[in-house]
Symmetry: C2
Subunit: 324 residues, 2 copies
């Protein structure tokens, strides 16, 4: 298990070492990218060498972050992770670092304790919030680049301050970042949440019209097979964000999105509205996450996977499976 350290101790650690690799999880989202790059920019600002490493390419929509970044050349010395709950999420290209992570900065209560030292704040909506608090605790400057990154992560993980996980502190940090730099939040948020290609829009309309509800209307399931991706010419990385679609239906408590990653192997994303802890359900399938947003992998065809999930959810909702 990791040694838990304070925000201040983490800041001191970062200030007293050098030559960092910052690892983030595969299929990186706004919080992984924001926390990794935001920390990287902050370290470079105090004269450290630092690079961000990810097994997968950073999606194009985050160009407004990656265009501010160039990898540096240096002899690697210290390995950190941000927003990484489990080294299994590093992906193939980075799996070799699994046993050598010195410091993990995270907000997942499910963090497996893989790092030597861990700063974990599970009350934080995002890893970016934790990075912000570390920088503040260490009197480290937040540059414009870092501000854009941290805003991005907080906005991503709170659904732009929409979800229950949004705390007063999220709003206070956002106000401070915005005040300091007059951040172009309109443009950032349109990029993060609104702007879609015509193809993606049409793909979404297809997902919505194929969505099914189960368990007395409390469970909605959307399935995206490899055949669908091919038919609509959508890359797997372009399916980010579709997990929120089933939650739009009135009366739905648990929204489930099945994305086929390899033949008969589905990445399952679960969201809940108010009552069900979906991280518990996903844990039954070897996954994890947060109370209102979690994920796992399940094998089988779409029908089999759906039945496995509904069978796990029905008793939690106090229902018999025959209601499926």
């Amino acid at each position: 298990m990791s040694e838990s350290i304070t925000l201040k101790a983490a800041a001191e650690y970062l200030q007293s070492h050098d030559n960092y690799y910052i690892l983030i999880h595969q299929s990186p989202d706004g919080d992984a990218i924001g926390s990794g790059y935001g920390l990287c920019f902050a370290l470079r600002l105090i004269g450290k060498k630092a690079n961000v490493m990810c097994s997968d390419p950073i999606p194009e929509k985050y160009d407004f972050i990656t265009s501010r970044y160039e990898p540096q050349r240096f002899t690697h010395s210290v390995t950190i992770s941000t927003d990484l709950a489990d080294t299994r999420l590093l992906g193939k290209a980075l799996s070799g670092y699994s046993d050598y992570i010195e410091l993990a900065i995270d907000h997942h209560k499910s963090n497996t304790g893989f790092a030597d030292k861990l700063v974990l704040d599970s009350s934080a909506s995002s890893a970016c919030e934790v990075v912000y608090e570390i920088l503040t605790a260490g009197n480290m400057q937040v540059s414009l680049d870092t501000a854009i990154c941290l805003y991005t992560g907080i906005a991503t993980d709170t659904g732009c301050f929409k979800y229950e996980c949004t705390t007063p502190r999220c709003h206070v940090i956002a106000s401070k970042l915005m005040e300091q730099y007059n951040l172009p939040i309109g443009r950032i948020n349109r990029t993060l949440f609104d702007i879609k290609s015509m193809e993606r829009l049409k793909f979404e309309t297809k997902i919505i019209s194929n969505m099914q509800v189960y368990l007395d209307g409390k469970c909605a399931v959307a399935a995206i097979t490899l055949a669908d991706l091919e038919r609509y010419d959508v890359k797997p990385e372009d399916t980010e964000g579709v997990a929120s679609l089933p939650m739009q239906i009135k009366g739905v408590e648990v929204g489930i999105t099945l994305k086929e990653r390899e033949e008969n192997k589905f990445k399952v994303s679960m969201r809940s509205a108010e009552f069900i802890d979906v991280s518990e359900i996903c844990a039954k399938f070897g996954g994890g996450g947060h109370t209102r947003a979690a994920g796992c992998f399940i094998e089988g065809d779409a029908d089999q996977v759906r039945m496995k999930i509904l069978a796990a959810i029905a008793p939690i909702m106090g229902m018999d499976l025959w209601m499926v």
Copy 2:
């Protein structure tokens, strides 16, 4: 023209009078409802009599506000408006009050100065922000009911803190309201932004698949005719929020939604991304609003209305109409 008064003077006015009618605009949105009811609850808390008046029924989705409200019986004495830019927006049932509004609380720079006294803060994202500042200036208590209302208006007019009009102050006010009462923001925001009936979802997929782009892809137009409403069994009040749909398309600067209100009479909603002041365009058709969100009424069939608008926008974008 109105006499402009300070936040503190407005608070003193409210504290020294009684028996209020608070008027809000027809087709009420979250900010009209939030500011009207929020102020009403605050006035009742200091022992005043107050009712909210609207020409149209309050949409069902705002039950979480209206369920906290009962009309009071009293002899009406003072008439106030919140979020009302122009008395023409009062609608038929309230038009008789047009010349008798003593105090207007607003954030529209286009306010026509119809009231005796006016508290106008055009830098405020929402009328709810102005109401919050008045209550603060007058040391008036914000109850849970008022907090829910004011959060609703700020969230509505900022697109849940997503749009450019979101200021650091919006975030600070949200954090204070949330801190004081542990507001159920997850539930409120799902109701405001996410939850839709299956019918509405299917209606949206229809609007999206019929959307057209013009002017080199910079302009997207969605049209909803009376025949569409009938075909999809959608009430006009259930079309709130569709104005944001055309803005989703990559590359679009101006998104236009045409809603047929009477035969050959369209309510036009315009949104812009970054550059075009749509309130200026709508003003040409006798409408108004904000830089990034405005509206007007235009007569004609859908094709005629679309051409009138594109002809007005093309030169502003430095384009010839033949590009339409």
